[in-house]
């Protein structure tokens, strides 16, 4: 069997990234959209860790830790925003977020 190269990880992260993008573009429920964004950020982390291992460089993993920390902060805010919105309008469907129109 071929040994696992960073190329394999690159393909995997690309797949996860794509899934995240598709999720953001096509789903209507805002919580699922947000989870897809988290998926995208994880794909970035896989990239960073794989490159870090191949380059024998700790910077990649440090960057990955920062990404995780930032993702946590963003998750807190994002869910807070969603909560605030829900309290006002009782929906989580982005099709119904249409007060601001053309």
């Amino acid at each position: 069997m071929t040994p696992i190269t960073p190329y394999h990880y690159l393909v995997l992260s690309a797949a996860l990234f794509m899934l995240g993008v598709i999720g953001v573009m096509t789903r209507r429920n805002i919580i699922i959209i947000f989870m897809s964004i988290e998926l995208m950020l994880n794909a970035v982390n896989i990239n960073l860790a794989a490159f870090s291992q191949q380059l024998h460089n700790a910077v990649g993993q440090v960057f990955a830790i920062f990404v995780v920390a930032v993702a946590a902060a963003e998750a807190a805010i994002g869910l807070g925003i969603i909560l605030a919105f829900y309290r006002n309008k009782e929906t989580l469907n982005i099709d119904e977020m249409n007060i601001l129109r053309w």
Binding site: Y7, T26, I31, I65, A75
Partner: protein, 171 residues
């Protein structure tokens, strides 16, 4: 052995992610995302990054996803209504159609970009020392990247205050 482990974890991650994006029940989506993160943590271990793996489990799966779970249960998030029967889920209203096309375009670009690199581009060098030790990462974090580390503390403070501002009950 490593190879088989990679494929198993990768398969779990991808399948779980497809289901997260594809299936209708939000509670199941959260659980599946946790599974995916767990598989990714396994991959980090394979990549000689145990600290990142542990961080992934503790923070991502353990804190962020639990937060998601709280919100999903608090808001009683309903299942997404299925698309109208005449139209399949992929080819829905114009917005979704454009979204799907754009995503597929991005996907095609990624595939094309990756296919032009070829497997041989990243040379393997198993003899070199690994960088995984927590000591190494810690040293880097507190010396080379100390500024970014301190700056992140402000970000986290902002997130805390912001979350309270947005989500507290108004009297």
């Amino acid at each position: 052995m490593d190879v088989i482990a990679f494929y198993i974890f990768a398969a779990i991650a991808v399948v779980a992610s497809v289901l997260v994006v594809g299936q209708k029940n939000p509670m199941h989506s959260v659980m599946l995302l946790i599974t995916s993160f767990g598989a990714l943590a396994g991959l980090y271990v394979l990549l000689d990054a145990p600290f990142t793996a542990v961080t992934q489990i503790i923070i991502y799966a353990g804190a962020i996803m639990v937060l998601f779970l709280f919100v999903v249960m608090l808001l009683n998030v309903p299942r997404e209504e299925p698309a109208p029967p005449a139209v399949s889920a992929l080819l829905g209203p114009t917005g979704i159609r454009i979204g799907v096309i754009l995503s597929l375009l991005l996907g095609a670009e990624i595939v094309w970009a990756l296919s032009r690199i070829g497997l041989g581009w990243f040379p393997q060098d198993p003899a070199a020392a690994s960088v995984s030790s927590v000591a190494l990462i810690g040293a880097s974090l507190f010396t080379r990247h100390a500024f970014a580390f301190e700056a992140t503390s402000v970000l986290i403070l902002v997130a805390m205050i912001g979350a309270v501002v947005l989500a507290r009950r108004e009297h």
